[in-house]
Each structure stands twice: as structure tokens, then as C-alpha cells.
């Protein structure tokens, strides 16, 4: 199609507007591209001279910071294992069994999971965890997140399993496989992409979370990195900017890597639809 002059100008205007909005979104993040590599970084935007990795060396020399990253990993991995396993089993049952009332269960869970948010239920969650004697333990964070993320994880996975033809398991059983064999040989490998997505989603959620560990944990040796960063810049009169910049970047890397992995493997929108 031939472009008329006004249409051409329109295109340019559209591109310029899109680029402008993109730049506005980039501005608050620009600082993170430079400060971690600047040994004299302050809150201002400055190009490092020279570029250096010394801030990262400082981070890895700080045992509190390293411990917090490790704690984040324990809590995220623990929570994700629980969420992944429990959600897979439950979603498979919701999709493949003919249990009476499973539709109602699904509906009620969906309702509760959107009503009971972390910020509305912080008091009872704290009380339950302290009643169980789990305050200030990794397990408290792991279990709370497993419970909170499970309903959504189950729905994502149930939809995924629903979209997989039943003929996979049927053909296995006709061929002589027991239900257990059909589940492990055929169903599980076929569902795996869905499980990966749920696990990544759960990991990103727990890894990035602040409020729940902030409430449930007290001591330094249990704190995840999110709470550590918050205390670095809120409590210590003047923040140690160099350390914080490098530390925040390290802390963000798994999220960025997982995001890139999922958008490479499953396409970008899939991940887009399921965060939060």
C-alpha cells in the first residue's frame, strides 16, 4: 500500500511517542545500569570512571548480604517445590478425575484466593504462624507462600492440563499401563512445560516478596535479600549506596534470567498473563 504524506507523518509521530514513553519508563532504572559498576557511586546518575567490579567484591565480602541471598534461595526453592508438587497433583485431579463437587471446589478456591490477600490477612497469618511456633523460621515463609500461591498455580495448571488431550493417558492404559504408569510415563512429561511455568512464576513471586518475610521473620540470619535491602536503605542513616546498587543488581538477576528463559521458551505473553 502506498503511504500518503499525512500517514507517513502519523507513523513517525507514533514511533516518537512510543519511544518517549519507553524512555520515561527507563529513566528510574538508568541509575542501575551504572551505579553497580562505579566505586564512588552516589544517588546521582554518573557514568563510572573507571568501570569496576569492586562493589560486587564488597557485596560478597559482606556476610549478612550473602546470608540474605542464601535465605532468599532457601525460601523460594522450598516454597516452589511445595507449590509445584501440590499444584501438579491437585490440578491433575481437578482435570482428570470425576470427583463430585470439583467444580464447586474450584470456584470457592478461586474466590478465597482473590479475597485473602497478604495485606488483608497479615494479622491472622501472623497469628497462625506464631500459634504453630514457626515465627522467625524459613518454614513459616515457605508454608505461607505455598498456601497463598497454590490456588492460582492450580488454576493455571488445571487449564493447561485441560488443554492436553486425554487420549495420551487413554492410549497408555489401553496399551497396558496402570494409572500410576500412565501418570509418570506419559502425563507428567506432557504437563512439564506447565509445571515449569508455574514453578518459575512461584519462584519470582517468593523471591521478590517483601511483606510476608518482613512480618514473619525477626533475626538477621533468617532475612531474605528483599528485607535486607530494605533495611540497608531505610534504617542505616545514610545508605551505603555502592553496596546497595551492586547488591540490588545481583538480587534482580535471577528474576531477569527466569523472565528471559520463559519468554524464550514459551513466548512472552504467556509469562505476561500470569504474574501477580
Amino acid at each position: 500500500m502506498k503511504l500518503t504524506l499525512p500517514a507517513f507523518i502519523g507513523r513517525i509521530a507514533f514511533s516518537a511517542l512510543a519511544a518517549l514513553i519507553g524512555a520515561a519508563f527507563a529513566l528510574p532504572l538508568l541509575w542501575f545500569l551504572f551505579a553497580p559498576f562505579n566505586a564512588r557511586a552516589e544517588l546521582g546518575l554518573a557514568i563510572p570512571d573507571p568501570w569496576t567490579l569492586s562493589n560486587f567484591v564488597t557485596v560478597f565480602g559482606n556476610s549478612f548480604a550473602v546470608q540474605a541471598l542464601w535465605n532468599s534461595l532457601i525460601q523460594s526453592v522450598g516454597g516452589v517445590i511445595l507449590v509445584g508438587a501440590a499444584a501438579t497433583l491437585a490440578a491433575y485431579a481437578l482435570s482428570r478425575s470425576s470427583l463430585p463437587g470439583k467444580g464447586a471446589v474450584t470456584y470457592i478456591l478461586l474466590l478465597f484466593s482473590s479475597v485473602v490477600s497478604g495485606s488483608a490477612a497479615m494479622v491472622p497469618i501472623f497469628l497462625i504462624v506464631s500459634a504453630a511456633g514457626l515465627i522467625d523460621t524459613h518454614l513459616a515463609v515457605i508454608l505461607t507462600f505455598a498456601g497463598g500461591l497454590l490456588p492460582t498455580a492450580m488454576f493455571i495448571l488445571r487449564d493447561f492440563i485441560d488443554s492436553i488431550p486425554k487420549s495420551y493417558e487413554e492410549s497408555a492404559m489401553v496399551a497396558g499401563a496402570s494409572p500410576v504408569q500412565a501418570f509418570f510415563d506419559v502425563a507428567l512429561p506432557v504437563i512439564r512445560p506447565g509445571i515449569v511455568v508455574v514453578v518459575v512464576w512461584g519462584f519470582v513471586n517468593i523471591w521478590g516478596s517483601f511483606l510476608i518475610p518482613f512480618i514473619l521473620l525477626r533475626s538477621d540470619d533468617q532475612m531474605p535479600a528483599s528485607v535486607a535491602i530494605y533495611s540497608f536503605y531505610s534504617e542505616a542513616g545514610t545508605p551505603i549506596v555502592t553496596l546497595l546498587a551492586a547488591y540490588s543488581l545481583i538480587y534482580s538477576l535471577p528474576v531477569i534470567a527466569l523472565y528471559l528463559f520463559v519468554s524464550w521458551k514459551f513466548g512472552f505473553r504467556f509469562f505476561g498473563g500470569i504474574k501477580a
Binding site: P165, S167, Y168, E170, S171, A172, M173, V174, A175, G176, A177, S178, Q181, D185, V186, P189, V190, R192
Partner: protein, 370 residues
Amino acid sequence: MASVEFSNVTKIFGNFNAVSDVSFSIGDGEFVCLLGPSGCGKTTSLRMIAGLETPTSGKLLIGGEDVTHYHPKDRQISMVFQDYALYPHMNLADNIAYPLKVRGKSVTERHGRAKEVADVLKIGHLLDRLPSQISGGQQQRTSLARALVYPSQVYLFDEPLSNLDAKLRLEARGFLNHLQRDMGMTAVYVTHDQAEAMALATRIAVMDQGKIVQYASPIEIYRRPATTFVANFVGNPPMNLVPVEAVQGDGQLRPSADGLVLGGLAMSSGIGTALGAGKTLTLGIRPEHLSIAEPGAANTIAGKLFANENMGPESLVTIERPDGSRVTARIFTDDHIALDQAVKLSFSSEHVHLFDGAGNRIPADGETPI
């Protein structure tokens, strides 16, 4: 191989009667097609043989043994699925050999046997590919190979060719026919394609609304359809069905309709006994039994030319009758047929089928009643 028997089998889903009180048996070594439109209960019947649905009532026997409540894995059957159900994470060898794996066979035996079957099906060179890396026709043959890799009592096919394009479907159909001749397997084959059923079956069970309407050899079904439903379903284009009225004439009952002349038609005495005058019947003539009337033809049906389609070896000539209904003739000529507006088609009296008001066949004189 083994026989299969349905004994008063009914299957109800919620308030939908998928199969109602069906009884029939499939002999050892027979290739039976379940033929019918979607929702007629053919797939449900097949799935009950496989054990993937449990009958609401009735009994199902394989090889004389009551298997109604057996788990699919214990029925010693194999099945080819419409969507092939090839496991995307296994290569072809592992897909084909999966039934042997669950039977605890060694890897060497599994792969040896898979290679053997795959070679017969001409996919032996693809064994280390994944299902996503082969063509639709090859996927179809892989699923067939998986069904053939171990000895079964019954082989089940759920519309296995419906996902292939027309040319591949013909090829695969020919191969299945060859396989049946070679192995003499007991097979139950679900299809909505009457040509497939005609080509493959030793017997066809035509189903409609959860019931078997006719269960007979393909020739029988083609020559003596039991109902207008069967007549309309089998044959391409389907049989022309013309509503006619029974009138008294020359001391006997004869069918009458606008534009229809029946000169030399010897009517079944069955009409006289079954019906009085004034009843509505249906007269059926297959398109291939109609030709352009020569002057003086005894039996003719007339109308306005509606369409004249040249198909290569034949022409489809369709006329529109005064009541708006259409009659199609298959004229076997590779020449273009020049026709006037008014067309008369002729037929010989032995090719006339008559059905009563309820659509059931009225046997011709000398024909054994169904």
C-alpha cells in the same frame, strides 16, 4: 484374535442417551465398521470395548469373557486414536514400543520389535525422530505401529484417517485393507465416512441416535438399505428419496408423484398388504441408476434442469421437481452433456427402493424381509 459381543448395552451421560440397549456380536477375524453421523453413539461404543467408558447397563464380552468392568489395561486390546496420541517426549521407537515397556520387556526386545513393525509400515528409518519431526501421514502410521507391536485380541480404530488429507487417506485406507487381508485381525473401526466403511468392512453397523439401524455386509447395505436413514447415509451422492403416494390403479396399489411415470414397475405385493390407498411412501433411486431418458422409456422422473456438473469420468445432472425437491443422476460419460431446460431421467424397475411412512424398507417381490 477374539470375538466381541454387546449384550443389551446402554450408556447414559447425564441425561443424554449415547447408546441405548444395543446388542450385536463381532465374529473372530471380522472387520466391523461402526458408521454414522456425529453423536450417533459409535465412538462411545468403541470406547466401551476399550474400557474407556463403562456401560450404564448391559454386558460386554471379549472372547466370551465378561470384560464389562475390566480396566483397559487388562483387556489385551490395542487402539488407534483419532489424534494419534503420540507421546511428544518419546522418539518413534519408544512410542511404538511403549506397550512392550509396560509389559516389562527388555530394551533390546522392545527396539527390535519396534524396528520390525516400523519397517513394515515404511517408517523404519525415522525411529529416532520425535513425533513433532515427522509428517501427518507418518504420525498416523506410527500410531498404527504402536497398535500392532504386540498381539491383541481386538484392534480398535477411532476415525484414524480423519486427520489426513484426501490423497493420503486413500493410500492409508488401501494399506489397512491389505493389513486386514494379511493378518485377519478382529477389528472395530469407527468412521463417519461411508466410503471408508464400504472399502474396509466385512460388516457395517450403521448407527443413529444410539441404536444400530442396520448391521450387514457393505454390499447388502448398499443394495438393500433397511431404512431411509441408511439409504441416505451410504452412497455418494446419496440415494434420491422421492415422497410418493400409494394410489389404486389397474386393480393394484402403485406409487404416484408429480412428474413420475412408472410403466413397467412390478410392485411388491408387500405394499398391498402393508398399506391402504392414500398413504405416503418414499421411493428411492441411487444416482448411478438414473440415466437421461430415451424416448419411450418406461420409468421416468421429470423436472427442470438445476445443475450439470462435469466430474471427469462422470457428470452429475440435478433436476428440480415441481415441489422444489431435487433428484441427482450420475451419468457415466466423460463427455459434456447438452441438456434442455426440461429433463427426463429414466431408471429400471429393479433399482427402485420403497420405504414405508416410518422410513422402513418394503421388501421387493422375492426379497427376504429384513
